[in-house]
Symmetry: none
Subunit: 147 residues, 2 copies
C-alpha cells in the first residue's frame, strides 16, 4: 500500500504526461489503448499513476501516440534528461541517416521554433492562450537563473 502510494508520487508525472499527449492527440483512452496494443484498464491505471509500466509498454504507448519512445523514457526517468540546444544541433549535424539538405531544413525549423519561443518570452504579453507556453517560460527562467 505504502509502496503504491510512493509509486503514484514517483510516476504521476509520467501518467499526466501521457494523458496530456493523449488529449492533444484528441484520442480517447480506449483509442490509444488499441493503437498501443495495451489493455485500456491498464492504460487508465498508468495515467493515474497506479502502475509503473515497463519500457516495452512505454514503447508501445509512444507508438500509439506517434511520439518517440525516448520521450516517454525520459518522463519515466529511464533516460537522463539532457538539456541544452547544442545537443540537438550537434546531433542533427552529425546524423547520416538524412541528407545535408534535410539536415539544414531541420536545423532551420528548430531555430525557428526556438526563436518563436524567445519572442513569446520577450513579449511576455497576456496573449498566451496556451498554458504550456507559460509553463515553458517559467522553466526557462528557472534554468536561466541557475546558469
Amino acid at each position: 500500500m505504502g509502496n503504491t502510494g510512493d509509486m503514484g508520487i514517483d510516476v504521476s508525472g509520467l501518467g499526466d504526461f501521457i494523458r496530456d499527449q493523449r488529449d492533444q492527440a484528441q484520442m480517447s483512452l480506449r483509442q490509444l489503448a488499441k493503437a498501443a496494443d495495451v489493455s485500456n484498464p491498464y492504460l487508465s491505471q498508468v495515467e493515474r499513476g497506479l502502475r509503473k509500466p515497463s519500457a516495452e509498454i512505454l514503447g508501445r504507448i509512444a507508438q500509439g501516440l506517434r511520439i518517440s519512445a525516448e520521450t516517454l523514457y525520459v518522463q519515466a526517468g529511464i533516460l537522463a534528461q539532457r538539456a541544452g540546444d547544442d545537443t540537438v544541433t550537434t546531433a542533427i549535424a552529425a546524423d547520416r541517416t538524412i541528407t545535408e539538405r534535410q539536415r539544414t531544413t531541420l536545423l532551420q525549423i528548430y531555430a525557428a521554433f526556438q526563436a518563436e519561443n524567445q519572442a513569446t518570452a520577450a513579449n511576455h504579453s497576456s496573449e498566451s492562450s496556451d498554458d504550456e507556453t507559460l509553463n515553458e517560460q517559467s522553466k526557462m527562467e528557472v534554468s536561466h537563473g541557475s546558469e
Copy 2:
C-alpha cells in the same frame, strides 16, 4: 517453460553482454551484484537469459559495471541502436527550449525525412545527382546486409 526458452533466446544477447563486461572488469558475479545492489542469484539468471530485467535493474547493473545505462538499454532492445537516429531523437525528446508540440513536430519531420531516404533507396534509380545521396545508399545497404 516454452516461454522461458523463448525468453532465453530473445535476451541471451543481453546476458552474454553483461557477462562479457563483467569478465573484462574482472569482477565475480557476487561482486557485480553487490556493486549493482542486485541479488546475485537474480544477476546469475539475467546473465543466463532466464530473466528479463527492468530498465531500473539495467541501470543499476550498468552503474556497477561503470558503463552507461544506454549501452545496456540498446543491448536489451529498449533503445534503438542506430547511432544517428538515436542521438537526434533522444536529443529532441529531451530538449526543453522548445515546446512539447514543437518537439513532436520536429520528430515527425525527422522521421519523414528518413522515410523519404528509405524510399529513395528502395527505388535505387540513377536519378541521384547528389554524391551524398549515393553515400547514404551504400551505407544503408551495408547495414541492411548485416541484419
